[in-house]
Amino acid sequence: MKLYEYSIRRIFLLIFVLLGVTILTFYLSRIVLNPLGAYVTERTRPEAIPAIEKRLGLDKPFYIQYIIYLQDLVTFNWGWSRVAHMPVIEALFYRFPATVELAIASFIIIILVGVPLGIISALKNNSVVDHAIRIFSLTGISIPVFWLALTLQYSFSYLPKVAGLPSLPSNGRVDALLYQQYPVNRITGLMIFDSLIQGNFIIASDALLHLILPAMTLAFLSIGAVTRVARSSMLEVLRQDYISTARAYGLPERMVIYKYALKNAMIPVTTLSGLLFGGLLAGAIITESIFAFPGMGQLTVFAISSNDSYTIMAFTVLASFIYVLINLLVDIVYAKLDPRIKY
């Protein structure tokens, strides 16, 4: 089967999974969470509640509500986000690029640090370096996210400020005052990208500074996973016969490792990084809320605490869509990388 047919089949399955997700989301939000909660306060007259239900269409039988919900979903009329004070789709349009920017930044760090560490740890197997790297990577996946974020905030932002030393910003995406003086108009929503195009280096550098702490937090957690996979797959590949062929034919060690072995070892790493990136895209819930980074994650935390079910539903559908899409992309990339895969 050609790659094209394989993708079609996968996309069909994707739609089925997404439908399943919408059913689960609908059940959760309409039956379990009762969206009415977001529209009724302690001052609402009990008699007025039926009218609100009618206006929100909550009085119709469930399956009709679900069909209306699907129509709304497709027409991108995802309801009003009480938390963002704007239509949900607009809130997404506003905040998703911020999450993407953070995801890219931390992804770059993850790959640039994680992969080399994994390879070094494999090449120097069972040496002191290997042990150190393994402890570092295992610690990476044993630290609670918020604890790491707060410790970084405390050590790199709070303490230096107290001591009068230069400190990393730990709040928001760019300095509000600076943004007032040097506004950047939004093209893609990626702050650094937009400001660089418009030659506004002040904002670009400030946005970069604001990215450091959150990106470091997110990266530290995933570096562990990437390092371990890179190490085990590199060890696996180095034991393969075609490596001894390469050596037997006098190819330089550097080439044997970084060309012949690396490309094979990178296949499982790519799959993992794809999944990690998908995870990052779904919004780093805790990191964004600690660093007040205005992305999808922060909005979701606000939505959860104030039970704004339209925003939560939007986040769920978006996160599931990203997960499923990334899975498909990872499989396709996997096929490209490893010619042995046939469909």
Binding site: D241, A248, G250
Partner: protein
């Protein structure tokens, strides 16, 4: 003398203890000569091949012995010097073609890389493009030599798209393209079915004759040795027990183990009752004292159990057994 191996001892460090893979392997190989190295699995054939190329895995250690190749002891060489010898002077063809080609690169890439790094003529070329083109032509020419159909197309294909036989031919072509002095064929044809095996051996013989190469043919198939080699060496438990002219060794074997082997060989020319060798191959973690074969040898004497038998010359073959003198 192109290659002479003297008392090579190699040990492996595993969790179960130290495996004495080679216990003093010695043999010589002359220029243009084909030596067959035979023995059951676990007798140390492949370890010998890997030791010559110094490609032993990390937990192996060459305890002692000398491998003199063209007057130079390979064990003394630096890794850098050894790299120059591998490929250009000594080439190896491995057993299972399926796993010895890198799955994610096209044949062309792997073949051309080998040529670019080893072939003096191509190495000398500055212009990258030029080097690629010449390497490509050379590859095609070599593939034709090994009777590969449509070589240009094969070069563009991935290893998994070729059959076992074709892959072995690619490896052959790669090995011979560098005109090495010594080819080590480690069970090169065992994984192929008989018809393809014959073709590949035929090609090896032609190439060997044409370039007067010396070949170390490692196999457990005595038939293959009989047809292709001038000299034969029989290995058992990490030692060469008998070495000599192929006719003498196979027709009038001296060492009891060689005799046992031949008795276990089905013959087409006459009716013969097959007799296996009693007992099993010794455990190399704590090998038996004296001659390793003494537990299974019908003629074993007290001395066989205590002292390692020295090599003695017996009608043109060298044999390590107390049946033939030596106290």
């Amino acid at each position: 003398m192109l290659l002479s191996v003297r008392d090579l001892i190699v040990e492996f460090y595993t969790y179960r203890g130290i495996v004495h893979a080679l216990n003093g392997v010695s043999f010589d190989l002359d220029k243009g000569e084909v030596l067959g190295l035979a023995g059951e699995t676990g007798s140390g054939k492949s370890v010998t091949a890997f030791s010559i190329q110094r490609l032993l895995p990390a937990n192996a250690k060459i305890v002692s012995g000398k491998i003199v190749f063209d007057g130079v002891d390979l064990l003394e060489l630096s890794e850098e010097k050894m790299r120059e010898i591998r490929g250009q002077r000594i080439a190896t063809i491995f057993q299972d073609p399926h796993t010895y080609l890198n799955p994610v690169f096209k044949i062309e890439r792997q073949f051309l890389d080998v040529l670019k790094y080893n072939d003096p003529e191509i190495k000398a070329l500055e212009n990258k493009k030029e080097a690629e083109r010449i390497a490509f032509e050379k590859a095609v020419e070599m593939l034709k030599k090994v009777k590969m159909p449509a070589p240009e197309r094969v070069l563009k294909m991935y290893p998994h798209e070729l059959s076992g036989g074709m892959k072995q031919r690619v490896l052959l072509a790669m090995a011979y393209s560098l005109t090495p002095d010594l080819i080590i064929a480690d069970e090169a044809t065992t994984a192929l079915d008989v018809t393809i095996q014959a073709q590949v051996l035929e090609i090896m013989k032609e190439l060997q004759k044409e370039k007067n190469l010396s070949v170390l043919l490692i196999t457990h198939d005595l038939g293959v040795i009989a047809e292709n080699c001038q000299k034969a060496a029989i290995m058992y438990a990490g030692r060469v027990v008998e070495i000599g002219d192929v006719k003498k060794v196979l027709i009038s074997p001296k060492h009891p183990y060689t005799q046992g082997l031949l008795k276990a060989l089905p013959r087409t020319d006459k009716e013969v009752e097959l007799v296996g060798i009693p007992g099993t191959v010794p455990d190399l973690v704590n090998p038996p004292t004296g001659c390793a074969f003494n537990l299974r040898c019908p003629y074993a004497k007290e001395i066989c159990r205590t002292k390692v038998p020295p090599y003695t010359l017996e009608e043109g073959s060298t044999v390590a057994c107390y049946l033939y003198g030596g106290k």
